[in-house]
């Protein structure tokens, strides 16, 4: 999906003489974006039901789809730990599920190397729905079965939010390679 880029930004990302992308920026921005997504529980929204899409997880999927191999296979462990600190889930739920998702995505990547955006979206939808349901189970939803019904809007919203998350990831991916370092 083409990301519309403003002219100034286009100029910024163009390769220039004696300028190169900073490796620090290029390697750290994916991690930073996912962590910022995990911080969404400290956003101004105080919800009385689970409604917000898990932004950190969406960004993780976005990076895995858009730039396979940029985040290592083990990225799910540290990123999941950060998510656990803020998400309110029992500790370890993010570490486990994010690790599984990263490994699963890696498998999909090797098994079906040629994919379009729609296939990616389909895979992401399945993974997101599975993630939310299993995470809810860890948080004790089986003691309150009605809550599953209340989760449907969140699952739908998260699936719809995935293309937007990928757009944001794409934009950050452009910023990542801005030539800022003098060579």
């Amino acid at each position: 999906m083409p990301v519309p880029i403003p002219e100034q930004l286009k100029d910024l990302t163009r390769p220039r003489i004696n300028r190169a992308p900073s490796p620090l920026l290029a390697l750290s921005l994916p991690w930073i974006l996912v962590m910022l997504g995990s911080l969404s529980p400290t956003s101004p929204i105080i919800a009385s039901a689970p409604v917000m899409p898990p932004l950190g997880f969406l960004f993780l999927l976005g990076w895995l789809h858009l730039r396979p191999g940029l985040l290592p296979v083990w990225a799910g462990l540290p990123l999941g730990l950060i998510d656990d600190l803020f998400s309110g889930q029992p500790m370890g739920s993010g570490m486990l599920l994010w690790s599984l998702a990263t490994i699963g995505m890696d498998y999909v990547e090797t098994r079906f190397p040629w994919r379009g955006f729609m296939q990616n979206w389909l895979v992401a939808s399945t993974v997101i729905a599975g993630y939310l349901l299993v995470a809810a189970w860890f948080a004790g939803v089986h003691r309150q079965p009605d809550l599953l019904l209340a989760m449907l809007p969140q699952i739908g919203l998260s699936i719809l939010a995935y293309p937007i998350a990928v757009q944001i990831v794409g934009l950050v991916d452009r910023l990542r390679l801005i030539p800022v370092r003098e060579v």
């Binding site: 529980p41 105080i46 039901a49 296979v73 083990w74 999941g80 803020f86 993010g94 309150q144």
Partner: protein
């Protein structure tokens, strides 16, 4: 999209080993996740220090965002107000007329109340709040219902203290950091609050359902005396919550109780009060019942 080439490490032993090591760490991550999950599911308080210090780190940013929330909501409600102006004026006038009558009745009741209380030698139990602070965030993508409070141990907040807004009970403090505290909202599925019907004191338990409503379970089984619209307040039994804090209104009846809507929506309250712990028989007696004049 074309498959990326960095998947094939080529003949370099070093590259092959690092790819392999990556997978080993990834699967170790799964194992660590399972282990940590089992520990934290067995003991909810485990890792609370880690969580609190993480919240402390992001608290300043979240506090700023919370300020923008109340301002943003003001803007939206002002915009919305223009569209519903006429309807609301008509409704307000009608409500005002009704309220005048109720006010007269309430005045009479207050007088009567004062006389009766003087008779009983009681004083109003109204705790002095430990702190007044903003709710700076909530777990909006998880099914658990926690909120983050913008004040912590440094302002005297301790685990277990009830948190209320002007509209009613919000929850209680679960974990404290230095500058933040994690609040278990009454709508969380693990929260249980002893309540009674405001009108006649029918006792019940209010359990959260995770979606903004509460399940009321009556203690005395038998015919269900509840009606839609009944208001419930905390009963104070068992300690912790101060008695008489408004909590919920019944919206739907069930076989063994009712579903009730929580009165305080933490999303629209700007500031909340943290109250000291209510302990039956100690603090309450000192505040509520003055020592008998003759006893020394």
């Amino acid at each position: 999209m074309a498959p990326s080439s960095n998947r094939r490490p080529g003949s370099s032993r070093r590259a092959q080993y690092s790819t392999f090591l990556g997978y080993v760490i990834a699967f170790l991550g799964v194992a660590v996740g399972v282990a940590v999950l089992l520990i934290s599911m067995g003991n909810a308080g485990a890792f609370s220090g880690l969580r609190s210090s993480a919240s402390d780190v992001v608290a300043p940013a979240a506090e700023a965002a919370a300020v923008s929330r109340s301002e943003g909501q003001g803007l939206f409600s002002a915009l919305k107000g223009y569209f519903t102006y006429g309807v609301r004026v008509a409704r307000n006038e009608q409500e005002l007329a009704e309220a005048r009558v109720k006010l007269a009745e309430a005045n009479a009741l207050r007088d009567e109340n004062r006389r009766l209380k003087a008779l009983l030698d009681l004083q109003d139990v109204d705790p002095k709040p430990v702190a007044v602070a903003r709710l700076i965030g909530s777990t909006s993508s998880s099914t658990r219902r926690f909120a983050l409070l913008g004040a912590g141990r440094s302002r005297g907040i301790a685990v277990g203290m009830p948190v209320r807004s002007p509209l009613g009970l919000v929850g209680r403090v679960l974990e404290t950091g230095d500058r933040t505290a994690r609040v278990l909202l009454i709508t969380d599925t693990e929260s249980v609050v002893p309540v009674r019907r405001a009108s006649d004191g029918v006792p019940a338990f209010a359990t959260g359902r995770g979606d903004g409503t509460l399940q009321l379970r009556l203690i005395n089984l038998g015919t269900n005396p509840l009606k839609v619209g009944d208001a419930f307040v905390t009963s104070g039994s068992g300690g912790l919550y101060w008695p008489g804090t408004a909590i919920a209104v019944v919206t739907r009846l069930t076989r063994d109780g009712a579903i009730a809507r929580a009165l305080s929506d933490p999303g629209i309250t700007e500031f909340v009060q943290v109250q000291p712990l209510w302990e039956e028989g100690t603090a309450a007696q000192q505040m509520a019942v003055p020592a008998p004049a003759g006893a020394k």
